[in-house]
Symmetry: C2
Subunit: 106 residues, 2 copies
DNA sequence: TTAATAGTTCACTAATTTATAAACTATTAC
DNA sequence: GTAATAGTTTATAAATTAGTGAACTATTAA
């Protein structure tokens, strides 16, 4: 089935959003581009780990990267990424609200 | 850090989109609700597998479920899910377009 | 009350993803 | 050329996720 291949590709792009560090990076890059070490300074952790996560997102077209001198600048590939991320955050918030409602009705 | 916990929750919701079968189900439920066996009839595979994937999405508030008689009806928890999914599909399409452009410039 | 339908849960194995640390590459400065 | 900076790549071990089939639960029908 041709569709199954599209679902796989689509899922792979979505999967690239599904890690706390990657969400943190997308959050950071909402409105600006930053170089690797600026991102690392905010997120903390090992540079090798961050580099791998940035690589995953860049390969899936979530981020784009531009080399300038010795620095690698990362930014969102498009505003669609920020919008999708925001929508998913709202799904989370709605979920938390539902839980609160349930508790309040006890 | 409090933010790190939010990023984890946010990533968990996004992660629930990151599987081909789950994308296929979201696609199916864009504009209608369907019961488990209707979904299974379209996606194929084992019922136990589908049930587990539906459970993951329902727990993360991607889907909602309603039991009616002997049937369990599934639908998207909100239109935000469909919108986010559509945006991510556009990110995929843009990525494919970029690859095509690269090849054409060879 | 027995059987059929509709699905969920569980136990297990296989596959994938993640974190870590060391080694490596490329650019700039001395 | 040598060292420093900025990051990437690779190898490996640990953790998580996915697929399978059997067992289980709940509702309806005969």
């Amino acid at each position: 089935m041709i569709n199954k291949k599209i679902f796989k590709l689509h899922a792979d792009v979505c999967k690239a959003l599904g890690h706390p560090l990657r969400i943190e990076v997308i959050d950071l890059l909402q409105d600006k581009e930053l170089c690797f070490s600026d991102i690392l300074a905010v997120t903390g952790g090992l540079k090798s780990n961050l580099s791998q996560h940035l690589s995953v997102m860049t390969k899936k077209n979530i981020l784009k990267m531009k080399r300038e001198g010795q620095c690698n600048y990362y930014s969102l590939s498009s505003d669609k990424v920020a919008q999708a991320c925001q929508l998913m955050r709202e799904v989370l918030i709605d979920s938390i609200k539902n839980h609160i409602d349930l508790i309040e009705k006890m």
